[in-house]
């Protein structure tokens, strides 16, 4: 194991996969010379050259569209969208084409491509640059959606995504890039898509989370332990495929669930998770499922009130206490 940041873990995954397979290429806005807005592509141009590491014009729809064509043409593109907010400009390519081409062609083509996109709120970037759009992609069949929380998962999932023959939306959290963690040294250590992980075991209540929310949930769990509440934290790791078994088993054990999502509450993925828990764990539930989500507003620019719109350790802990005390 080596300690590294989430950013370096992603960078390592890209390097390892590009070394392993010459068909892996990467492109996007400012990814080559500039090494990416968040420096995830550091050193790639120097090592792999202009053929495989390319700056594109500012054309998000085409960045995804070209990746689709290139994937059908035998490459394994890893496209970077500067932020997930610009994925909205590529939504037609993502939803109408990337997600469907394989099935509409009766499986005659594969789409081994990854679209990497940093996102999430909390960096004071205003309403159009702070969104958590994971539900948008998760909603659409035909797209894998990866949402790693830790450096090890970031590396393992990105490697698995690059090797996968289906398109993957790979959603990185901007506030996690500098976070550190242990990463296995074995270059063949992958994290499979569609496998959640129990990041902390507990017996009283299950917190289901993903991406940065997992980190906050773990912090909340540590706080709550001091109050005698034992939380199990399930990190989904991918939203699509969604590993329902792991959290269903956990809720069946604890009898209580809090689901945490960074996105807006209306039609957010927390509602989907809560409905699965209601369907599968009804007999075992000791309390209604509680959702913790972002507020239903465009993200305010002001740093102070921005915080109020995003779940915090304290809001997660408060939801757990409510569930434990039967106060809803």
């Amino acid at each position: 194991m080596s300690e590294m940041t989430y950013r370096d873990a992603l960078n390592l995954a890209l390097k390892e996969e590009m070394r392993r397979d010459p068909s892996v290429v990467t492109w996007g806005e400012d990814v080559a010379l500039y090494e990416g807005s968040f420096k995830v592509t550091r050193g790639l141009l120097a090592e792999f050259g202009e053929e495989r590491v390319k700056d594109t014009p500012i054309s998000e729809n085409t960045i995804v569209g070209v990746s689709i064509g290139a994937a059908m043409g035998g490459l394994r593109p890893v496209a970077e969208l500067m932020t997930v907010n610009f994925a909205l400009l590529a939504m037609d390519q993502i939803v109408n084409h990337m997600a469907k081409i394989r099935s509409m062609f009766g499986g005659q083509t594969r789409l081994p491509m990854v679209v990497r996109a940093p996102g999430g709120g909390g960096s004071q970037l205003g309403a159009q640059h702070s969104q958590s759009l994971e539900t948008y992609f998760m909603h659409c069949p035909g797209i894998h959606v990866a949402v790693p929380a830790t450096p090890a998962d970031a590396r393992g999932l990105l490697k698995a995504s690059i090797r996968d023959n289906n398109p993957v939306m790979f959603l990185e959290h901007e506030l996690l890039y500098n976070s550190k963690g242990e990463v296995p040294d074995d270059t063949e250590s992958l994290v499979p898509l569609g496998k959640a992980e129990v990041k902390r075991e507990g017996k009283d209540v299950t917190i289901v989370a993903y991406s940065r929310m997992t980190i906050l949930a773990l912090q909340a769990a540590a706080e709550l332990e001091k109050e005698g509440i034992s939380c199990e934290v399930v990190d989904l790791r991918t939203l699509s495929p969604l590993d329902t078994e792991t959290f269903i088993a956990s809720v069946n054990k604890t009898g209580r669930a809090v689901v945490v999502e960074e996105c807006w509450r209306a039609a957010g993925l927390g509602g989907h998770l809560a409905s699965i828990i209601a369907e599968e764990c009804f007999d075992r539930l000791l309390a209604p499922v509680r959702r913790v989500s972002g507020l239903d507003v465009p993200m305010p620019y002001s740093r102070k009130i921005e915080k109020l719109c995003i779940p915090q350790v304290e809001t997660i802990a408060a939801a757990v206490r409510d569930v434990m005390s039967q106060k809803y």
């Binding site: 500039y34 500012i58 054309s59 507003v297």
Partner: protein, 353 residues
Amino acid sequence: MPESILATFTVKRLEIIAPDGTADESLVPDLSGDELRRIYYLLLLTRAFDGRALALQREGRIGTYPSVLGQEAAQVGSAFAIHERDWVFPSFREMGAHLTLGYPLHQLYQYWGGDERGLRTPDGMNIFPICVSVGTHIPHAAGAALAAKLRGDRIAVIAYFGDGGTSKGDFHEGFNLAGVMGLPTVFICQNNQWAISVPLSAQTASRSLAQKAVAYGFDGIQVDGNDVLAVYRATREALEKARGGGGPTFIECLTYRMSDHTTSDDASRYRSPEETEQWRERDPILRYERFLAKRGLWNEDYAAEMKGKAGGEIDEAVRRYESVPPPAPGEMFDFVSGELSARQQRQREEASP
């Protein structure tokens, strides 16, 4: 049948003031001495605004900020031709246009200070919110021009964007529609030759950006973006044409981004200091000073006086900006939609202390 030539085209370039300040008199716009001096003041004010913004950012008193250094002439010159009733759709790097149009300075600081209330345009001013998404407001300008045309309102609608914006689908689609419908739009590109780390040559294989207009069926012109009078003249003609029903025009202002992309960037990582130095010699304010001096409208004392005046205006704007109380948490719900849902109302109450 033999091959024949279907179309050829030419692209005009306009430059009025030479770097030494001499001008082609036949092209100098008919502006009074006061107006010429007003333009000078606006250039100084823009530079002072910008310099102070950079200083405030370093002190943590505003957030990430995109400098307009070097682009003052392209912004002031174009905005000086805009009438009060025209509509303007800016991108994020046109603070000089805002200042010229009379947008309150303190609100610009407020916006870049992380408070979107700074975008609430004062009554009677037709300036739309700063568009940080690249190029996405080009169709909005076409739509506003369509509405003006249908209303029978003889105004022009202006969209500002950068060279990077010309790579967007929105650019193609907005231009195409404006051309097809003959809309009263004036598209102004600040070609500062960089889009973050990507140089113009990696953005387009076109010889100029101006020529792209030809394919959409309207005029495109490249102007020396560091020549304030050339920018003014081209914009005024395009606006008059638009207001008179002559359809859209595309103006490419060839200029240079002297600063980093924003305060979060370090341009020395991807471009040479020599390149930037070369452009320093083409400084738009210096050139205009030489022009004014030749007409007896400028000397060192006058410059010092005007710089002092601009500095005073900026001091006042900063003072006003910093005396505005921060938004209350509940305010974020104010304009989310006509009526809040019960859940939003509850969220609002919970967010309010």
